[in-house]
């Protein structure tokens, strides 16, 4: 493209453009994005929904729910019902349970959760609602399992995504910036890793690690942590590719060239121009990765390789639920509620992601 045409504008036009440019000055990319996100009703509400959901899942111990592991076979497969009262809640405890006793009723909880559970006992005493969403084949409360399961699912997804993000972006950006032979080599490595069926790798890694769980636990690494790392380690490849592609195309683009010509420093180019530009695409992939990891966790549950009992996750709940679907009788609450929880969260994540993409896209600044 020749440069002559580019500046071939009338004087009035130039004036208007200068005006527009001045308008932009007062607002950073993030403020602009925030403003535009707020304007996008659906994304905004999806974000609010997710925020409430995350908070709720963190505060799970405060809710007056039965322990998700408490088995009451005499109350198995109950349909949803309403009501409330002193329903044997924590019946085996004295007034002031020790941490050990709490761990026995749930699993090894953190000190925060112990505190939250005590808070709940102070607030609700022995009151709890009826099994609002029904019970499963062992008489466990579905609502409680969904709420507690959300913690596992969200934690797996967030931890694994962050892990993959960290590796992926670093790797991709480095590769793209270096260019040439290094870029070529790094991308070939990604290609090689891509060419290993990752289900296969995950199965072996989980088996391998599961087998050594006792030794790892002695070193303070619990099995779930490894679970996140394994999944995250598998998902960084796409991120690396996308980031690298974006960096590469930006590097060759005219506006970076222009910045160079204008004498902008490399860090400035990188952080003021390149990073915001790749951010949008990173966020799009991020919002695809979080749901993908949640689904992957469910897939592992389907294979029986998921989170270990007595802990629950949405994946294990969904899998348990689908085995309850058959033409003879449908225990619909076993599958509908976990599916609804999972579906609404993933849907919200996707909508929020789209909103963020639009809000963060530098090409869309100042427009709506």
């Amino acid at each position: 493209m020749d440069g002559k045409r580019r500046f071939d504008f009338g004087a009035g036009e130039l004036e208007r453009l200068a005006e527009e440019a001045r308008e932009f000055k007062g607002e950073s990319l993030w403020q602009d994005a925030w403003r535009r996100l707020r304007r996008n009703r659906f994304s905004w509400w999806a974000g609010v929904f997710l925020a409430i959901f995350m908070l709720g899942s963190f505060l799970a111990p405060v809710f007056p729910l039965r322990s998700p592991t408490e088995i009451r076979t005499e109350r198995a497969n109950l349909a949803p019902s309403f009501g409330g009262g002193d329903l044997n809640y924590l019946s085996e405890f004295k007034e002031d349970p020790t941490n050990d006793e709490l761990d026995r009723a749930y699993w090894d909880l953190s000190f925060i959760d112990h505190g939250l559970l005590r808070m709940r006992m102070a607030i609700f005493k022995r009151w709890q609602p009826d099994t609002i969403l029904g019970t499963d084949n062992l008489g466990r409360d579905i609502l409680s399992r969904i709420v507690w399961g959300s913690r596992t699912s969200i934690l797996v997804a967030l931890a694994a995504t962050l892990f993959s993000l960290l590796i992926g972006v670093t790797y991709g950006a480095f590769s793209g910036l270096m260019g040439g032979r290094i870029d070529n080599l790094m991308m070939r490595i990604v290609d090689i890793l891509y060419s290993i069926p990752f289900i296969f790798v995950v199965i072996f890694l989980i088996t391998f690690i599961g087998d050594r769980s006792t030794e790892l636990e002695d070193k303070g690494i619990d099995r779930e942590f490894v679970f996140y790392v394994v999944i995250g380690a598998v998902y960084w490849l796409t991120m690396a590719r996308v980031v690298r592609g974006q960096v590469l195309s930006l590097k060759n683009s005219e506006f970076i060239e222009a910045l160079r010509v204008m004498g902008a420093s490399t860090p400035r180019i990188l952080f003021a121009h390149v990073v915001p530009n790749i951010l949008s695409i990173v966020i799009v992939y991020l919002t695809l990765t979080i749901p993908a990891i949640m689904l992957f966790e469910a897939f592992l549950s389907f294979l029986g390789l998921g989170i270990e009992a007595p802990k629950v996750s949405w994946g294990t709940l969904a899998n348990d639920g689908t085995t309850a679907i058959n033409p003879l009788r449908i225990y619909w609450w076993l599958v509908v509620f976990p599916a609804a929880a999972m579906g609404s969260t993933l849907l919200a994540l996707n909508i929020l992601g789209d909103g963020l993409r639009d809000a963060l896209d530098p090409k869309m600044r100042g427009k709506d």
Binding site: F42, T207, A298, L303, A318, T322, I330, L346, L347, D354
Partner: protein
């Protein structure tokens, strides 16, 4: 183009070797062997069987034997002389993937030969459907961005990645098999067998394709040449279909390689639920059965497919986007 392909071929060989190496040793590092059984074999019998499949050899030698092409067996190349009938060549390089350890009446070649056409058919059905749904909803929501149509399209397209496919499959079976008896519940062989599994399998990919199309289209629509096209007075339809779509579909094209591979390995759930004797279940089953040869066989097949498809995608990229030059890097 030719140097590009030559370079690709070289990298392909390196990739294949690395994948084989990694998979082989990864597999062997995990507890349990192919002949472990609930009824424990007599130690002597177990040793005999393992010796027959050379599982008693040092690992490097097993790997060399597996890769081939020289037969390292005592009767083979370096042995005490070839006994009559023993093959001088063996291993992957001679096209022999060995016998399956789990399905002992079949060679890995037999198993892949049976399962691959089924997986291909299922893959094609679901991919066509995913492309049709994904691209159309993607375009529609990009053009009508921010409207109710956009939202509903996106919601519909997101359904596929908002729920695990075994949940979707279960719902569909209840709906379209038991409540409204339209399709057979499971099995393989007739056209109507492919519809539900193809739908379920494609849904995930439709969702991704739809998002990528929307993103790509929005990107393309904000480009200047679109403005020019509009300025030239072209009909909006022409602008979108002929000009914007070309750039807008680039992300989709690059997604097709991984997606096709994903359909092959990701069909496991669908295969189990709909009882389809495809390839997907072998990826997981061979691993859990410690069926070393079958696992290696499907891994190699996967590598070849992924690599081949990615090369095709890269070629397609240059055709679709003149800005990308293959010879550059």
């Amino acid at each position: 183009m030719i140097p590009f392909l030559a370079r690709r071929l070289m990298w392909f060989a390196i990739t294949l070797f690395t994948v084989m190496f990694v998979s082989f040793f990864l597999m062997r590092s995990v507890k349990g062997g192919p002949f472990d059984n609930e009824r424990q074999l007599d130690a002597g019998v177990q040793a005999t069987i393992e010796a027959e499949y050379h599982l008693d050899w040092p690992m490097w030698k097993q790997f060399a034997q597996y890769v081939g092409p020289l037969n390292l067996d005592d009767d083979g190349w370096f042995g005490e002389g070839e006994t009559e009938g023993s093959a001088p060549f063996t291993g992957v390089l001679s096209g022999d993937f060995g016998p399956s350890f789990r399905y002992r009446d079949f060679s890995v070649n037999d198993i892949i030969g049976q399962a691959l056409p089924i997986s291909m058919l299922l893959g094609i059905v679901s991919m066509m459907w995913a492309l049709a749904l994904g691209i159309s909803t993607g375009i529609a929501s990009a053009i009508r961005r921010g409207t109710g149509l956009d939202l509903s399209m996106r919601l519909a397209a997101t359904a596929g990645i908002a729920l695990p496919n075994f949940v979707i499959a279960s719902f569909l079976i209840i709906l379209f098999v038991f409540l409204v008896p339209l399709f057979p519940v499971a099995g393989w062989g007739r056209l109507e067998h492919m519809i539900l599994p193809g739908f379920c399998l494609g849904l995930v990919f439709a969702a991704y394709i739809s998002r990528l199309t929307r993103t790509g289209m929005l990107e393309a629509l904000s480009q200047d040449y679109i403005r020019t096209a509009h300025a030239k007075g072209l009909a909006p339809r022409t602008v979108i279909m002929r000009h914007a779509l070309k750039g807008g579909l680039l992300p989709v094209v690059s997604y097709l390689g991984p997606a096709t591979a994903g359909i092959l390995t990701g069909s496991l759930v669908i295969e189990r639920i709909f009882f389809i004797p495809g390839l997907g279940s072998h990826f997981v089953n061979s691993a859990s059965n410690r069926d070393y040869t079958l696992a290696m066989g499907v891994t190699i097949l996967y590598t070849v497919l992924v690599y081949g498809l990615n090369t095709v995608v890269d070629l397609a990229y240059t055709l679709l986007d003149p800005r990308i030059d293959l010879s550059e890097s």
